[in-house]
């Protein structure tokens, strides 16, 4: 500890005003504060003591909540690889294969995003904002394992620049940064993010009869063709197992998909941590699930197309709904900021997700677009909640 402190203290003058690397002070500060909480004290007037919380710890909590999804995702990449190629793999081999695929994506995501953050930090003279630590981990979890690394870099840079920095940086952005990256890929490189991209094959060929589509794509295709959705899921990949897309496999996440979002269970583990620590809004998480479930129930009762007839609880486990509800919708900057607004915001995300899934043949995944859309509407919802507060004050005055 003392040793590290000495290194920082020794080099600090280089970065201070008048020093050789004066301009890089934000860079230096970001690293120093990663090791040591600064020796700053409260001002002479105002609060003399402060709560032990800070933004670093808050953001770290979110990252810790993502660890189950990450570890499961790494393993699942290897596991799916084994299933698709018919290769018999040990647990260790599955993890190893997953690491080889996922680690580079994580490194590229952090490296490209942090570079942009540091450039802006140095330009504006402020230390690195911790927000990107979360975004940088979210991006690898929502892309397919076969994504080209240069696309990860491009999408991350686009998201940080256009999604965040042009609005003024962390805390000012309108759209969720990780979802902006995902949407960028989705619209800029549609062929690399749909179809048979969800399973990492490496240089091997898949076994006969294997289809690499996600549950969402299969459901979508079946519905368009007028077939029973559950039946279509059950008939997929029977060459591997007749249970391949069973409800429990969907729930546990033993299916192809984006790296970190296949398992509803792991997302729920994250949700438990976020809710227990109060870092993620339980109102948003609950209302997204609730909104989606009841919309699906309602659609089931109406039942115009085959997709609508799919049992409502399936909607909660296919695609990225669980992951999105827990980690994307709860982003405090882009969500609604009033407590009542959080309910409305969450419910509408759930409702929209199901609507997009069921009625829109072009975009099989609804949660991404639903959250981005509600990000845009969040200020409007808050506007009306705040207006009601103002109204109560005005009415009181006239009495």
């Amino acid at each position: 500890m003392k040793f590290i402190k000495n290194i920082f203290d020794k080099n600090k003058p280089l970065f201070e005003k008048g020093g050789k690397f004066e301009k890089f002070m934000p860079f230096f500060e970001s690293f120093e504060t990663l090791f040591f909480v600064p020796n700053e004290v409260t001002s002479s007037k105002g609060v003399q003591i402060r709560d032990a919380v800070d933004l670093k710890r808050m953001m770290m909590t979110v990252i810790i909540a993502m660890i189950p999804c990450l570890i499961f995702g790494i393993w699942n990449v290897g596991y799916q690889h084994g299933l698709a190629t018919g290769e018999v793999m040990s647990f260790g081999q599955q993890i190893w294969t997953g690491l080889i695929v996922v680690l580079p994506i994580i490194i590229v995501s952090y490296a490209s995003g942090l570079t942009v953050e540091f450039i802006f930090g140095i330009k504006k003279g402020h230390a690195l904002n911790e927000g990107f630590l979360v975004s940088g981990m979210l991006i690898p979890l929502v892309v397919p394992p076969t994504i080209p690394l240069w696309q990860v870099a491009l999408a991350t840079i686009f998201a940080v620049l256009i999604g965040k920095e042009v609005f003024g940086g962390t805390g000012m952005n309108i759209l969720n940064v990780a979802l902006t990256a995902r949407a960028f890929l989705y619209f800029a490189y549609p062929s690399e993010i749909s179809g048979e991209v969800w399973t990492y094959l490496g240089d091997k060929t898949p076994i006969d009869g294997y289809t690499g589509g996600t549950s969402l794509a299969i459901a979508n295709e079946a519905s368009v063709a007028g077939e029973n959705v559950i039946g279509a899921l059950a008939n997929s990949n029977t060459v591997i197992s007749s249970e391949f897309f069973s409800f429990s496999n969907l729930f546990f996440g033993f299916i192809p998909g984006s790296i970190g979002e296949t398992s509803a269970l792991m997302a729920l583990l994250g949700a438990i941590l976020l809710i227990a620590t109060g870092v993620g809004s339980w109102k948003i998480i609950v209302s997204v699930f609730g909104g989606a479930y009841f919309t699906a129930l309602l659609f089931q009762a109406i039942g115009v197309n085959e997709y609508m007839l799919m049992p409502a609880h399936y909607h909660l486990v296919i695609g990225g709904l669980a992951f999105g509800a827990v980690f994307m919708a709860t982003d405090p900057v882009t969500a609604t900021q009033t407590e009542k607004g959080k309910w409305i915001y969450g419910i509408l995300i759930g409702v929209l997700t199901i609507i997009i899934r069921v009625f829109n043949p072009a975009y099989p995944e609804g949660i991404m677009l639903a959250i981005l859309l509600m990000n845009v509407f969040a200020p409007l919802i808050d506007f009306y909640v705040v207006k009601a507060n103002k109204q109560r004050r005005l009415q009181r005055a006239t009495v």
Binding site: M1, G171, R396
Partner: protein
Amino acid sequence: MSHTIKLKKGFDINLAGKADKKIATCDQPETFALKPTDFLGIERPKLMVEVGDTVKAGTPLLYCKMMEEVKYCAPVSGEIVEIKRGEKRKLLEIRILADKEIVYEKFKNYSVSDLVKIDKNEVIDLLLQSGVWPNIIQRPYGIVANPEETPKSIFISTFDTHPLAPDYDFTLSGEEHNFQAGIDILRKLTNGKIHLGLNGNGEVSSVFSHTKNVELHSISGKHPAGNVGVHIHHIDPISKGDLVWTVDPYGVVQIGKLFLEGKYDASKTIALAGSEVSTPEYYKTYTGACVNKMVERNVKGRNVRFVSGNVLTGEKIKSDGYLGFYHHQLTVIPEGDHSEFMGWILPTTKKLSFHKAFGLLSYLNGKNKEYIIDTNTKGERRTFVQTGVFEQVTPMDILPTYLVKAIMAEDYDEMEALGIYEMIEEDIALCEFVDVSKHELQKILREGLDLLKNS
């Protein structure tokens, strides 16, 4: 019969070093000071004395050119020894070397039965020239009240829920008749009611519970349940154009004493508290006391901070500094100017937090655990990210996040609409404490209030 208000929101900061309910024996300090900066209303102070003048307790020392009737008087008798000025000759302190035996300016005194008969103008005149008037605070803005105005009601909170706050039941015991006399005088200043907020969390002493001619309200809950601003919000809220006055219980007693005894008696019992005090106890002294005698040989650590007032709204002073006019406590806490290795992530139960983010485990301790908290900011300034936290510690129908943003944007209409008139520093102090992004919310709020006041 009292009305009951139960507050659910809030947060108690349970600090180590509570003052024992004993009066310590200690020599009176040699010097006392009046600090014009304590009074938010004073913008252009005008001195009425010079170095070398002798004054009595109650002799006017200065007034403000904006409101010349209000006199700010010497708390003790003695000789003016120093007039301390800061940058741009800003008046900071008027120091008085106190006499061994306090000599008082003589004012007219009344019997209890006479109190009913005095008319309003006579009351105001006496309050103004004797130096007790600055006890009366006007909301909105939290400034010294303007004697030409009439408030719609007057609020008195008889308990203080700030960390380590003095217990008024103890410091004012035996002052029942003065308190009642003060109430009877204040009644002449408003056409509305006088609202007395009683502590709903425990036993209320007879000093307050038997008060007549007031509306009694029992208010329970965590801090800020004792804040008068919270009482106003729930009982008779301030809308645009409304005026409410507030007085703390000590001020009421002082007003009562003035009329019954004919003197400006600035003696007060203060609490010396905090984790760095060897024997935290109460002290009998006078307004504006120099703290050196009290803290001499009574402080544990070397690197400590002396705070006039409480740790949420107080002000840092030196070890030979002076207590603020409105302060009834001196808090001594450790200075936090050290860096902590990995302090931002290591799990801990020792650091108090309202939050439960990863590793912040203080909520497991239960509410009786006492904390030692230093002055470290425990993190760096960031933009607003987390939401919904301020609302959890503000037991009012106010959205502090939106209010603060409106102030930062200097949006006058929005500030008004969001209820800035209902708040002063102490009402937002807890938000400042729990803020993840470490903003100075009290300072921001005051900037907003100043904008509106001067508009």
